[in-house]
């Protein structure tokens, strides 16, 4: 699959194209959006508590009179930052551990695989709760918790890939000409595993954003008054009957973001990984 072919396929699939447009807008919102919103996301306005959506507050205001649109725009930064950073970190750690386990085999493999299995033995949200609960809550603890619960999945994937890639003739050839282990791992095996890794990574970003939202909802993520989508829902949920927009809009923001990531991930998987084609 060439890059141009891939771009062409994205262009001809309306659903995927929509997802890509949404994600691009979202990324732009996270980076420069805060410059364009009219209200300070932290500014309380006691004269306009829990106002329904109107022309002055497009998505209404919350229980402290803060503008919901502006809080959602600021919250996008945290969701995307955590989701993407956690993907990168867990991909890096998982790739390294998986390469080592798969390439060296033997006792190293048995020991490392046991470690992967232990981390995979926890339901992910529960382990994330356990990890973030023992740390001071915040951006760093949320990222660390999500990375810790997800790296082992990538490690197991990379281990499997490495097991098959190391039997390839080009690895044998580079061994014969005396290439170092590091060179074989990072110049020969890793590049061949990369497309699948990127697919796996893109399929997981949505899940990471959901996990961050859940941690924030439980009060274990970035702390108030900084707005996050998850905490906006939990802080306003007692007003669901009288002022549902305070809960509905942040939830829509999460849903649309995660749906877009999942559509894109599914598409990439179907295109790049023949094994998954159904």
């Amino acid at each position: 699959m060439t890059k141009i072919g891939l771009l062409h396929d994205i262009g001809s699939n309306k659903l995927v194209l929509t997802a890509v447009v949404v994600l691009t807008l979202l990324l732009a919102t996270a980076v420069v959006g805060p410059l364009f919103v009219h209200y300070d996301p932290l500014a309380m306005d006691l004269d306009s508590l829990r106002q329904a959506p109107s022309t002055s507050h497009f998505l209404g205001t919350d229980s402290k009179g803060r503008d919901i649109l502006s809080r959602i725009v600021h919250g996008a930064r945290i969701s995307l930052a955590v989701g993407i950073t956690a993907s990168i970190f867990s991909l890096c750690i998982g790739t390294f551990a998986g390469l080592v386990a798969g390439y060296f085999g033997g006792k190293v493999d048995i020991a490392l695989s046991q470690v992967f299995d232990i981390f995979l033995a926890f339901p992910s949200l529960l382990l994330a709760i356990g990890i973030s609960a023992v740390m001071p809550p915040g951006l760093a603890s949320a990222m660390l918790a999500i990375t810790m619960v997800s790296w082992a999945g990538f490690a197991r994937l990379v281990r499997g890939l490495t097991l098959s890639l190391k039997e390839q003739t080009y690895v044998e050839a580079s061994l014969a000409i005396g290439a170092t282990t590091g060179r074989i791992l990072f110049r020969h095996i890793l590049p061949n595993a990369l497309p699948l890794l990127l697919v796996a990574g893109s399929l997981r970003v949505g899940g990471f954003i959901l996990l961050e939202a859940a941690l924030s909802f439980l009060g274990l993520g970035v702390q108030p008054p900084t707005p996050t989508w998850g905490s906006m829902i939990s802080l306003n949920r007692m007003y669901i009957n009288s002022a549902p927009w305070m809960v509905i809009f942040p939830g829509l923001a999460i849903s649309i973001t995660v749906i877009s990531f999942n559509i894109l991930g599914d598409f990439l998987r179907d295109k790049l990984d023949p094994r998954f084609q159904g």
């Binding site: 232990i118 033995a121 339901p123 529960l126 382990l127 949505g206 939202a213 909802f217 949920r237």
Partner: protein, 311 residues
Amino acid sequence: MLLYIAKRFLLFIPTLFGITLITFLLMQSLPGDPVQGMAGERANPETLARIRAELGSDRPLPLQYLGYLKLLIQGELGRSYYTNRRIADDLLQKFPNTLKLALSAILFASFGGIVLGIVSAVKRGTFWDKTASVIAVGGISVPVFWLGLTLMLIFALYLRWLPPSGMGNGSIVYLILPALTLGTYSLAYISRITRSSMIDSLSQPFIVTARAKGLPELAVVAKHALKNSLIPIVTVIGLDLGSYLNGAVLTETIFGWDGIGRYALDGIMKRDYPVIMGVVLFGAVVFVAMNLVVDITYRYLDPRVRVQGTE
């Protein structure tokens, strides 16, 4: 088969050690005295002394870990900071409620997911298939807690068909919204697996044979294709059921369901660390045990795997 089960049980043991090691290290990394951490601030001196003797915070870490294991084997998960009740007792008391919710949710998810998956596999490429795939992507993308609140808003607060929260006296109407909320993610996932597994089966030669001998389409789909697609579906159902404590934390919180999930949230809110760790440990053990059951069922269901296993 027995040998296989025995082998899987042996593999279970190092995993249990690993899980307890992680919860132990998490407890260790708490600020303050780990004995107080496990016993709670209002523990009586007796409990405190016993836990201190076992954990022996002055001893080297590996010995402390062994002490922790010994406590766990005695069923001592520690005490809540606030109620000073044994966490193991609390968990056992609340588990039936969570189990009831989880079973209702998986029933809804399995039925809905399989139907949805079959429809989209049989009507592949049509409007129905597309609708089903939108539901499938939506179901795995929507946050559980928001879905719960939205369902509550629509069906309990606006339409007033169902109670918004609480458990009633075990009345089934209280179970509906929490079960729908908890089950939606699995429903979406099961429908995807069913779809791809069914598409696979429907392209097999035995389907052509079944059609050729003039069986009605319904019998072809339900009897021949579905039966041969069941293994991956059953696997997913089992694994999802094992991970329901994840969703239960969020679902039970929203609907005031008195199970392990809400117990965990109370622990989080009050920074009641022994409670949090107790739930984490409990959830992991349930999850691993469920994996074990799924593996064994898998062997049992699929003769091909069994043959490979005995070779």
